[in-house]
Symmetry: C2
Amino acid sequence: VGKVIATQSISLDGYSAGVKAGRDNPLGDDGERLHEWMVGLSAWRERHDMDGGETNADADAIDEVFANLGAVIMGKTMFVTGEDPWGDEPPFHVPVFVLQHEPHDPIEKHGGTSFTFVHEGIERALGLAQHAAGDKDVLIAGGADTVQQFLSAGLIDELQIDLVPIVLGDGRRFFENLPTDLRLEPIRVVDGPGATHIRYRLVR
Amino acid sequence: VGKVIATQSISLDGYSAGVKAGRDNPLGDDGERLHEWMVGLSAWRERHDMDGGETNADADAIDEVFANLGAVIMGKTMFVTGEDPWGDEPPFHVPVFVLQHEPHDPIEKHGGTSFTFVHEGIERALGLAQHAAGDKDVLIAGGADTVQQFLSAGLIDELQIDLVPIVLGDGRRFFENLPTDLRLEPIRVVDGPGATHIRYRLVR
């Protein structure tokens, strides 16, 4: 069986979104600075059907996540805000499980991505995703509150923090409302020009 | 002329001290966990006249700071709480400039450490320290509020964050009350078992 991994971009002062984050503004004011390290990369642009872009150590950190990917879990807001921009061929190329309260028929897209809607909670979503992934990894893609739920429930094996060298000053803090006895062990770092990607193993 | 550098241990959730930090409890409740990566190291123990200890990548991060050190600046609390434990041969082995409002005669210790008290502000302390350091580096040793003052004034060339894989939950936040247009560029990472040491260049 594969690992359950999550990645999260945070600012140096610990924010995963700026102020006024919500469904219409998922990263909050100024929060798009958290993703600047990513959007210029060829690794990201290819997955979004765009040409060009840079290749650097930040790209290695993305490639590593996708290299052994078997399934994805995401929250409803990430799906709702992403569905349009992702288009007919979303960048996942694996089954995606969306957490939402309302039942909904599955959606098949091109390129191997499907969306299955799970209203029975995070353990059920994880069970379905692990079954779909086989011996590959399951990625908890976001948003931050979804990653927090899985972390609090002790369901994550490895958390990658993409530490972005900016100070947001205010917003939504990622390491809030988490157990303070959370034990993390740094297992490797990818030292990119746009962010420092630290992979932590969660110690049970 | 050398660089002006600062190092700061912070928790994953951005705290440089736990709650109730003060002169009698400089790291606050539970805050000693921020320094656990350091105190078991031979690099730290040697400087404090103790034998044994571990050698690992965390030690390299300490050695790197001391390798080109010419002078140190610290706040009054760090001096007051450190003077006794440091003993007759403090671990700096260079001139140390202490920021405090009250004038005080210099103190000479063994092993090349002297303490000079500066009541005319941080620029004056930096001028004296750079003169003493010559072409070597000046370290802003702490506490966190002293590092913040130098950061806010734009006087630091390189900031090393020693990111400790713990969640404190509450306490004194390091990246607070700093300009949000602070521009930091990660220039190298030392990937230690006890902390991830990220060196940032401050971009003017």
